[in-house]
């Protein structure tokens, strides 16, 4: 008992020292545990995917500007995206992954929309949601035009809530 009057000063000092050491051990143990957890989690984290040239994760050349008619959607299965050419001539590279739970959305040419087979979300040609449950517009990839060739950088998928004009890439007038 700490208040024991018969305890001598030395005993008290020893027990205090002992409890300090106990705390120190406990603290060191916790630090070690935290380090192990950190090590294991870092070990298990996904590595950067190595992109094959021309495959998903790299910059993909899709074709010349004129090979895409306005108001059409072209699938690029190896890059896992659709290239949309809007009516105004601009380009958008849409991820084919539904923003609801990740199914792959097919394009329906007749209805001019993407309809997800899993829970019936629908998206228009700009990737905007027409039908819930999808909570966000389809993700996009950066599109740029070099020497009249449309290129898509699939290394970074860009999340967005809805379609905005600024996301569209326009080919410069030759």
């Amino acid at each position: 008992m700490p208040n024991n009057t018969e305890e001598t000063g030395m005993e008290r000092r020893t027990s205090r020292r002992r409890s300090f050491l106990n705390w120190l051990w406990l603290g060191l143990g916790l630090v070690a545990l935290a380090e192990i957890v950190w090590l294991v989690v870092s070990f298990l984290r996904p590595r950067k995917p190595r992109a094959k040239a021309g495959g998903f994760g790299s910059v993909i050349e899709t074709g010349t500007v004129d090979s895409f008619a306005t108001g059409t959607v072209t699938a690029f299965p190896r890059g896992k995206f659709y290239l949309s050419r809007l009516e105004n001539g601009g380009f958008l590279a849409l991820s084919r992954t539904c923003t609801h739970l990740g199914c792959t959305v097919p394009w329906f040419e007749k209805e001019k929309k993407f309809t997800c087979p899993c829970h019936a979300s629908a998206f228009d040609i700009t990737g905007d949601v027409i039908n819930a449950p999808a909570p966000r517009a389809l993700d996009v990839y950066r599109v740029f035009v070099e020497n009249n060739v449309v290129k898509v950088d699939t290394s970074i998928r860009i999340r967005r809530t809805e379609f905005r004009k600024a996301q569209v890439t326009f080919p410069r007038k030759p």
Binding site: R45, P46, P117, C118
Partner: protein
């Protein structure tokens, strides 16, 4: 038949010496005394108690469910290790290794079927075991923590099933796992991070298969063995199972005990044999499904989560994803974990459904859930469009917060009303709420599995 227990080695032949060095005792003990010694000295049996309370042998206490779960887990280990000799965990080879298993390996199809059917049966049996433990009040002290360990075991069984589901790498596996891990993204804060860690990248692919395979065949089996050992040890430390009694009957202290061997062991062997026979019979006649090879470019319609997650998926059709995959499961898990730690009015250990009132209230709760849940599903699918008349609110509030608050308030109202109407103890009240929730989840699961067709529209199953 007087075989001396430890014969001096010089006096017997070499064969007998070797035999006795392995089996010092007679193989079939004949007297009660010899049986007790046998049990105590046998490596495999010595962790069983020498005697058990006689009344706990009644089949209508346990229905043999805990023992069945243990047998099925062992069966999974046996068949799983065999599968591991053939299965190749890469996207390119996984599917064809299953085909080779089924078509070229002797008894390969049978082993796969056994693994498949006992995995699914295991979920059902463990769930029923949980119900029996709850409804016999076996979670009251000193067994509170056994309940918590049990919940851990239940989670492990679900994770084992889920990680196994991906392995055949057919369309069914690929998309069910895509959709199920897609749910993780909605967990606030860590969702995206967690999803990427579990998948080993942004989509299901070779990394996911590696991760799932390692979890399935190393991490989870080890965790299961450890937790099962812990589970059994706690049961023994509690002095065996709860002693069944009728409402009003006192707990008899100390209980009459009988020898474990042969009384308990014989019963266990019978239950195990019947169970294994049934599983083998099913596996001979019904093959585990195998769809087309996984194709990341083409989602089948409909794409469904595995059946044990179908209730969750059904909720996802009605509630905002954050509510369906985070808030509701969090509330349910908390309720389940805290169940044994509520301060109860009475000790209803060993009484089926706690009391006479408890039985009636449980039936009413079950009927209420059977009516309310389908009603809400139909209303939500065909009638209400909260988007129209609550359009000022964000979807999180409109489809998440508001329905949850209403549901929780309704359940609390139900609890208070039942308690007041029957002037019942809180044992009976909590039990009624438990029944209501469990029946609702079962209804959601049934709807998700059988009543959802293409585009997840409501359909009639037997057309």
């Amino acid at each position: 038949m007087a075989i001396p227990n430890n014969p001096s080695p010089e006096k017997s032949g070499l064969f007998l010496q070797i035999w006795r060095s392995i089996f010092p005792d007679p193989l079939i003990p004949r007297s009660d005394q010899a049986r007790k010694r046998y049990l105590f000295k046998n490596l495999i049996l010595h962790f069983r108690p020498l005697t058990v309370p006689e009344k706990t042998l009644k089949f209508s206490l346990t229905w043999g469910l805990g023992g069945m779960a243990a047998v099925l887990v062992l069966l999974q280990f046996g068949t799983g290790v065999l599968l591991k000799f053939v299965y190749v965990p890469t996207p390119v080879a996984a599917y064809s290794s299953i085909e080779i298993l089924q078509n070229e390996v002797a008894f390969g199809q049978l082993i796969r079927n056994l693994h498949h059917w006992s995995a699914n049966l295991l979920v059902l049996i463990v769930f029923l075991h949980l119900l029996r433990v709850f409804f016999t009040g076996s979670f009251h002290p000193p067994r509170q923590f056994s309940w918590v360990i049990g919940l851990g075991l239940f989670s492990l069984v679900l994770i084992a099933n889920f990680t196994g589901y991906l392995l055949p790498y057919d369309q069914l596996a690929y998309w069910a796992v895509t959709v199920s891990t897609g749910m993780l993204e909605y967990i606030p804060g860590i969702g995206a991070w967690l999803q990427e860690t579990v998948r080993g990248g942004t989509v299901i692919g070779s990394a996911s298969l590696r991760i799932f395979f390692a979890l399935h065949t190393a991490v989870i089996p080890v965790a299961l063995v450890i937790l099962m050992g812990f589970h059994f040890w706690r049961i023994r430390r509690a002095g065996g199972l709860v002693i069944p009694r009728t409402p009003g009957e006192e707990i008899d202290e100390p209980p009459v005990r009988v020898a474990t061997l042969p009384n308990l062991l014989l019963r266990e062997v019978v239950v195990a044999s019947v169970l294994i026979a049934v599983v083998i019979l099913v596996s001979v006649f019904f093959n585990a499904p195998l769809g087309k090879p996984a194709n990341p470019g083409l989602s089948p319609n409909p794409t469904k989560a595995p059946w044990y997650f179908a209730g969750l998926q059904e909720m996802l059709l009605h509630l905002h994803p954050i509510a369906a995959v985070f808030t509701v499961p969090l509330i349910l898990a908390t309720v389940l974990l805290l169940l044994p730690y509520v301060s109860y009015d009475s000790d209803s250990r060993g009484i089926w459904f706690a009391s006479h009132k408890g039985r009636r209230m449980a039936v009413i709760a079950a009927i209420a859930a059977l009516i309310v849940t389908p009603f809400l599903i139909i209303i939500d699918d065909f009638v209400i469009e909260p988007g129209k008349w609550l359009s000022g609110l964000t979807p999180e509030i409109r489809n998440g917060l508001i329905p949850i608050v209403i549901l929780v308030a309704a359940i609390m109202g139900f609890y208070l009303m039942m308690k007041w109407r029957f002037s019942a103890s809180n044992n009976d009240g909590v039990q009624a709420v438990f029944v209501f929730i469990v029946v609702s989840l079962v209804v959601l699961t049934i709807v998700g599995v059988w009543f959802r067709g293409p585009g997840m529209k409501l359909v009639w199953p037997l057309r």
